[in-house]
Assembly symmetry: C2
Homo-oligomer: 163 residues x 2
């Protein structure tokens, strides 16, 4: 049974264990694969409005997500989220659970819509998952993502109204 709760300072080492392999692989997130831990902390914890962890019954961190305004001022009613599931915990619905949780949190925080800026088109599982959760591909950036094996691949902008 997975529970999603707000980030606490002691969570970072476990979160970094989840994030690091994904960032180093460089196939789904735009972060530099050589990103340093303190930069990752800045992006994932300091910059966002809030960060959450998905934990199992033993309290082990299996996933994490952040939420933040996607733009300042006149664009700040649209939020942006990023989700990462631990490689050994995939296929258990944790990404889905975090996506649903983040939409509730976004509504509570007063956001009107959620936008993903760069969903890598070759990450077909993610594209399908977000579509299942009501997100629409509003546009495709040709060659918008440099995949470490495939070279320049397309990336989607995905969007969902929350009310």
């Amino acid at each position: 049974m997975i529970k999603i709760r707000a980030f606490g300072e002691g969570d970072w080492p476990a979160i970094w264990l989840v994030l690091e392999p994904t960032f180093r692989e460089g196939t789904t997130y735009a972060f530099d694969p050589g990103i340093r831990e303190e930069q990752a902390y800045h992006y994932w914890v300091e910059l966002p409005s809030a960060t959450f962890v998905a934990v199992n019954e033993a309290g082990q961190v299996h996933g994490t997500y952040y939420i933040k305004p996607n733009q300042p001022g006149q664009g700040s009613h649209v939020c942006n989220c990023g989700y990462v599931v631990a490689q050994e915990a995939r296929g258990q619905g944790i990404a889905s659970a975090m996506c649903e949780h983040s939409q509730r949190v976004a509504s509570e925080l007063g956001f009107r819509a959620m936008q993903y800026n760069l969903v890598v088109a070759t990450n077909a599982g993610a594209v399908r998952l977000w579509q299942k959760h009501g997100f629409t591909i509003v546009g495709t950036l040709p060659g918008g993502f440099k995949h470490p094996e495939l070279g320049y691949v397309d990336a989607h902008v995905m969007y969902k109204f929350l009310m």
Copy 2:
């Protein structure tokens, strides 16, 4: 005759005179209309890779733009620019000149494409201008911009390959 040159530290007061009325008006840029000067300096000068000014023969600043990677790491081959022309200098082709200049600079800096993340749909002149310069609307964010008079209006994601 308008000349475009790199930003020098002494330019900031003149740049702020150009930016401030546009930011305060809040109809074209997502910045908070109440943005403080030091925040504007951070966004326009410190954060970007480079900032430029468009000056007339007397050296007066009539326009300014910045250029920066639109995403980190695996998305950093796509740049983002923002342009502002002084209200009293509009209709003289300064935005066009800056757009062309920025594309040359982008190529020199090694960027492969240019992306505008939030072109307010009601800013029809800008949409047409970017289209004239080869940009395509790759997607439209429904209600992505909160216009101070019109409420939530659409915003376009626009994109152009540079090579």
